[in-house]
């Protein structure tokens, strides 16, 4: 199990390149720490997510909550971003790992004694599964954004949307 998690944390997840622009709209991709406060910089500063992985984690959780996976081919991915082991905060990463293990069609006894190769293979499977949930999450977010174009520009709405997803599920 430790080896499996280790291998999972070593991976670089990807997301569909079709969501790259959308993701950039929600994520601070420029350095605003030394900004003088131009309109563009203020807009940048006001984005909901500070990093790409935060946006990815959010999309993943949206997909997981809705139990909705999107279509994703790893060869049609957007730019590479941070390795999972560098994601913060750790408790949330652990929760996502737990969720993925729960949702995977993989009994726990099959992950008891894994060789290095097996652990790597299964770790990648978990990441691929996570990527599909993230793609599903992005799909739902984009649909909302088409309905209300400025919706995600208000950071408060990312919380509202999460609650909406929960309600839809119910």
């Amino acid at each position: 199990m430790k080896l499996l998690k280790e291998k999972f944390l070593e991976k670089y997840p990807l997301y569909p390149n079709t969501y790259e622009d959308f993701m950039r709209r929600l994520t601070r991709v420029k350095d605003v720490s030394r900004s003088a406060g131009s309109d563009e910089e203020q807009f940048e500063r006001g984005k909901a997510f500070g990093t790409v992985y935060e946006c990815f984690m959010y999309a993943t959780m949206v997909g997981i909550k809705a139990r909705h996976q999107g279509h994703f081919e790893r060869n049609a991915a957007g730019p590479k971003f941070l390795q999972i082991k560098d994601w913060k905060p750790q408790p949330l990463v652990d929760f996502i790992f737990m969720s993925l293990l729960t949702l995977a069609k993989l009994p726990f006894d099959e992950i008891e004694e894994l060789s290095l190769e097996q652990a790597d293979e299964k770790g990648l499977d978990l990441v691929k599964n996570m990527e599909k949930y993230a793609a599903g999450g992005f799909e739902l977010m984009l649909a909302k954004s088409k309905e209300l174009p400025q919706f995600f520009e208000n950071p408060g709405n990312v919380v509202t949307f999460l609650k909406e997803v929960v309600l839809i599920m119910k």
Binding site: M1, K2, K5, G46, A48, F49, G50, E54, M57, Y58, M61, I64, K65, K88, P89, P91, L92, D94, F95, F97, M98, S99, L101, T102, L103, P107, F108, D109, I111, E112, N154, P155, G156, V158, V159, L162, K163, V165, V166, M169
Partner: protein, 743 residues
Amino acid sequence: MRLLNITLCNFLCYYDNNKLEFSDGLNLVLGANGYGKSKLYDAIQWIFKDGITDDKPRAGGIPANTVRKTSDMRPEIRHTLANERALAEAEIGSKVLCEVCIEIESGHQDESYRFVRRLSVTKTGANDFKADSESLLEGYRKAVNHFKPVSNPVELLAQLIPGDIQRYVWFQGERGINSLIDTSSRDSLKQVVNQLSDVEKWDRFIEVAQAAYTTADNELKQALKTDTTRKQKTETLQHQQLDVQTKLTVVETKMDEAKQNRDGASEKLDGIISQLTSATKIQALEKERQHRERELGQVRARIDDLKLGFAKRLFTDNWLIMGAEDLVDEFEEKYDAYSSFALAREAKHQATLAQSEQEQTRLPKGIPDGVHVKDMLQKQHCLVCNRPALKGTSEYIAIESLLVQNEPKKTKLLPLPSIELDLREMYRHGIKMREKATRANDEIAAAYVEQKQLEAQKLLLQEELERIIGETETETVNSGVVANGTAGSVVLSIESAKRELERYSGLVERYSQESAALTETLKTVKEEFGKLTQGSDVDPKLLEKRKMLSDLRELTELTKKAQYKKLISHLEDTANQHYSSINKRTGAVYGQIRFVYEAGGYIPEIQDDAGTPMQNLNTSQVSSFKLAIIMAIVTANRNRGVAKNYPLITDAPTSDFDAVKTRGFLAEAAKAFGQSIVIIKDFLDEDPNEEGRYVVDSEKLALVKADVEAQGKKLKVYQLVIPPGQSNQNRKNLSVQITRLAV
């Protein structure tokens, strides 16, 4: 005179060609702030005065809101008369023509004219422009179906509307109204009355009567001199009278000067004292504004933090997993299944082990332990029967077979599954996270409540700030004290004005005493003259003549006074009609205008029903008071027909009025003037669908139409519009359009 139309081409905010057709009756142009209202008024001014209103004071003591001529503009800014968008779009090296064209009907024999003023601007670089040093005016007279150039367009314009009329019928905003009528000065009304009437001719009658009296008086004195017994005395008295009269004239002149100076000093002191109050108030308002701005900044920052915090707390407070608590249950199920599986496997394993042990303890009787069997094989000697058992012999093989039988069965031992601990740890973590997730709803609700409270606080602070800024602006406009003026300098000015007042008051006192003494002496001299005529042989007709001319002089003076009073009274009545029409529908107490005689002149004031001057008038009351007087100046002299013959053109005259009062003014303007062109920001509401855009309040406009039609006049309405996708913040892409509205 009537304005038929105006065309603006690349003039200020008007890009390309924009045309307005004017009609008789009320022409209303509606535009929100920043939509080009004043620029439209400027276009008319540019034609007639070759200048636009400069809202800033300039070097050389030129006050703000003075019309600045094109040629007086600094060369580096003269090009700003041309439209910024047209300049931005022009190729480098090309010219942009800024042009205003007006067509006018003179009112005499159906004559009409066209005037065009142009300024050419050359684009010399991406952001560099060079405008001609002065604008060019062309005039044309309409002949049947075409226009013929005229040689003297400037003189022609001046003839079409004389300057003394133009200033009362064309004015811009509150400041324009203030500059026309100064309610604190006696001269303001005097000038108006002189302009309104022929009252000045009575001054000439008085002069003639005075001259005739002086002649008759001299004649009488001359006759007295022929009487030798009285000659000496007459001459002495004559000299004495001349001497006293001269001294009296000098003293009275000095006294008049001193009085004027004293009044000036008094007004100055009053002004400064009111400025001190205003400066103190403005300073307090300024402090309050800074304080509120700081507070508002903090609240805004907190709201921004809170909004951003919503997204941050998804991660820091684990709100992200809110609604995913069921995953922990699902994990638990899977974990249970695995635990059951692991337990079953462990049980099986234990059973296998037990069986193996059992098999090992069931070795045949008399068979030694394996260790002894191995020893026997090594020594090739059976220790049980104490006989040799050499390798390869049947004995050796028999011993060896014991060894195989004696070896315990090897059962593979499975290790206890190590992931049990990991799964347990993972489950514990899941439980902990679930607890946090269940708290998220309350935390989010609390954050929303805080945000709502802050938004409400922000709104209150914004309203408060608007109030403070409005009050500061009103105080600044009314007092003339600039917002950053210091009270200290005002105090110094008060001391100096007080000293000045004391000095002139002292002089007035001194000259009054001197004048009184000289008047007394003169009276005595005149009495002496009277005594001389008694019993003399002077022709009684001369005495009669002097008496009659003295009466005539007095009569002319009284007549002038009566005439003046009648004019003032007529002006007062007319002003009150306008004042009442403007205010009556507001429901507020507005009093009535009275021209009060005070120290040699009339001063207008508003009195209540008991005839007491109303105090603490608000800016709206003061504006309607002045506006009514200005309208009265124009309409009181019906013989001159100013209101009938010249259009009223005004920009933002009602900026201090509410909608009801504005309607009152518009109805009154429509009633009084043959043609009026009124540019205002009223009757527009913010478009709820688009920020920074305005829609017309049709209901209110329908009421205006009814008011205008009730006066037998027509209403035409235009709206100044900024096309979609443009903003008055970006003037390089701005083209204000003039749209005719159907009312």
